[in-house]
């Protein structure tokens, strides 16, 4: 048996505060943190979840450009083939495009899920906790219907796991 190959798994974190969140968050949240978009990079590809479903692109290849920070999640033995199969099945079930919800089922949810699959570890909690923090403010709850309709889909990726490719 050949020794298992270990593939590094990284989490790319994009700070969206430059755009939408910067206008919202100081007023709403009272924090300067803003929203984050995350994606998982493994096997020299970046994978993320948006309103168009699961997408992939070369690392740093979305319109957001290079990430604001990179977190090392660990390493995995999962080969690319198995990983893509897993992603396809996720894309059919849990992470369809229409399942996207800015607060509860977003790119960070996906990154967390994938990170756990690949390495058994979760992504840092300050990323996943942001939506619940927002929702716990009365302002966040009041604006919830509006914010629910916001869909984020960073352009520049191609979708994974669907025979008729969507952009």
């Amino acid at each position: 048996m050949e020794p298992p190959n270990l593939y590094p798994v990284k989490l790319y974190v994009y700070d969206l505060s430059k755009g939408l969140a910067r206008r919202l968050s100081p007023i709403m949240l009272g924090e300067g943190e803003g929203a984050r978009h995350t994606s998982i990079v493994v096997h020299k590809d970046e994978f993320f979840f948006g309103s168009g479903g699961i997408s992939s692109c070369p690392p740093g290849g979305t319109l957001l450009g290079p990430p604001d920070s990179v977190v090392d999640v660990g390493s995995t033995e999962v080969t690319e083939e198995i990983f893509l199969e897993y992603l396809s099945s996720l894309g059919e079930s849990l992470f369809r495009g229409e399942a996207y919800n800015l607060f509860e089922h977003n790119c960070n949810t996906f990154s967390n899920e994938v990170a756990q699959f690949l390495t058994g570890r979760k992504i840092p909690s300050y990323i996943t906790d942001l939506p619940s923090e927002v929702l716990s403010t009365p302002f966040g709850q009041a604006l919830r219907p509006l914010l629910d309709s916001i869909q984020i889909q960073p352009p520049g990726g191609s979708s994974v796991g669907r025979p008729n490719g969507q952009s």
Binding site: E85, L90, G161, G165
Partner: protein
């Protein structure tokens, strides 16, 4: 040798060792693990010394698949058959991920009627190299009809797993040349059944009921497939679709889809954009020569009562602007007879005009401006002015409720003072690509700006 009891629990939390005490009763070395597969998870009790292979056998029964399709992943490590849970450090309540690999053969044939993701080389090429189509033995060609039926069968349970296109194109071509396959393909009944039973088709039909009509009629289907092969036509159709969608956005009641739906009309529109811009600039200078905005300011003082609506002034081709452009623009575009309009606008406080939508007023200028310009060009539109005025009035009412006008008011002032800048902005902004971008970004612009309006008000 090792007995394992499996329970089914749908929404059990991973990492929650709820059955801890129960474990002790059954066997001191049993562990409760959660097996998670895409969209589904089940609890399993395993003895610590069970071999992974035996565990897989258990799972076979639950997931209706074959041994070589199962892949177990724990903490990012692939579980080998000869491992045991204790070896891997699998404790109570840990989650093991299960990936069910596809039967590669079935996927490829089932998808011979759909577009193949051949335009994504970085992913699928690596895959195809990795897995030469094991199932496709060229010698097995005579078995093909049987295989086909067999493939359709397991589609049902397997269909959620993935849609990989794995086999080499040559193999597929070879298969298709087989006369028995061809016989099958030409059997209309079978094909219709095949297509309609495929899950993707069913999903498509759910989303789009018209598609079922398409699929049932073989003639239409054939034509559609022909069309699909012709990429150029598709592109044209997409282009035509897009502007009409975007143009619908700025609430203009006028139907101006006439030109867009004509093939090639889009190009004509693009050309005329440039023409209009030139003419606009020229007309600006022609009519007023000098600072047209000071003219506006002068008129502001004389505020005449609003003229009766549709004053159908004849306009230059560069006529009627959208409601949301600055009032300073309007005099440039319109005969002096309609200056009264702008005067009316200004009496109501032109700072309010652009309020509603765009505190970032300028970005929105081009898209709607462009819309109107195009409209003018093709409809000899005197009507648009009245419509824009109606919209203006509508907006004014809206904006009266909001106080963000202060921001836009200042912006409008400065715009008026620098007519050249305004003209440049209009020109620059009305480049089609930019306007496309603005249109797409407009909804996202709007939402936060609406919020901020609310907040300021």
């Amino acid at each position: 040798m090792s007995h394992a009891i499996s329970q089914t629990s749908r929404m059990s939390q991973s990492g929650c060792p709820s059955g801890l005490s129960a474990d002790k009763n059954i066997s001191s070395s049993a562990t409760q693990v959660i097996v998670k597969t895409a969209g589904n998870q089940k609890d399993f009790m395993v003895a610590d010394d069970i071999l992974v292979r035996q565990f897989k056998e258990m799972l076979l029964a639950h997931f209706q698949c074959q041994m070589d399709q199962l892949v177990l992943v724990f903490m990012g490590r692939l579980l080998k058959d000869h491992d045991t849970p204790s070896q891997r450090g699998i404790m109570d309540g840990h989650t093991i991920y299960l990936v069910i690999k596809s039967k590669h053969g079935s996927r490829s044939l089932a998808h011979s009627f759909q577009d193949l993701p051949t335009n994504d080389p970085c992913h699928w090429d690596r895959n195809t190299e990795g897995n030469s189509s094991g199932v496709h033995q060229p010698t097995g060609m005579n078995q093909a009809p049987v295989e086909l039926a067999h493939f359709v069968g397991p589609d049902a349970p397997k269909v959620h797993t993935q849609n990989l296109e794995v086999s080499h194109p040559e193999h597929k071509a070879q298969m298709l040349e087989n006369p028995s396959i061809q016989r099958l393909l030409s059997n209309m009944e079978f094909m219709r059944q095949f297509i309609s039973e495929h899950l993707d088709t069913q999903q498509l039909m759910q989303q789009n009921p018209e598609v079922s009509h398409l699929l049932d009629n073989s003639e239409i289907l054939w034509q559609t497939l022909e069309l699909a092969r012709n990429l150029a036509m598709i592109q044209e159709i997409m282009q035509i679709q897009q502007p009409s969608q975007n143009l619908e956005y700025p609430l203009n009641p006028q139907p101006y889809l006439g030109l867009e739906t004509m093939p090639g009309g889009n190009n004509a529109l693009g050309q005329n954009c440039a023409d209009i811009n030139d003419q606009m600039l020229n007309s600006m200078q022609d009519h007023f020569g000098g600072n047209p905005f000071t003219a506006l300011l002068a008129r502001q003082v004389q505020s005449s009562p609003p003229p009766s609506p549709p004053s159908q002034e004849r306009q230059d081709h560069s006529g009627g602007l959208s409601s949301n452009t600055s009032p300073s623009d309007t005099p440039n575009k319109v005969n002096h007879t309609s200056k009264a309009n702008t005067a009316m606008i200004s009496t109501k406080g032109q700072s309010h005009v652009c309020a509603t939508r765009q505190p970032a007023g300028i970005p929105a200028l081009p898209s709607i401006e462009l819309t109107q310009q195009l409209q003018e060009e093709y409809k000899d539109a005197t009507v648009s002015l009245s419509s824009s005025r109606q919209i203006l009035e509508g907006d004014l009412q809206l904006s009266d409720e909001q106080t963000s006008s202060q921001i836009t008011g200042g912006m409008m002032q400065s715009l008026m003072n620098t007519p050249y800048l305004a003209a440049q902005i209009m020109l620059f902004m009305s480049m089609p690509q930019l306007s496309e971008q603005w249109r797409q970004q407009l909804p996202t612009f709007l939402q936060p700006t609406q919020i901020s309006d609310l907040l300021i008000a």
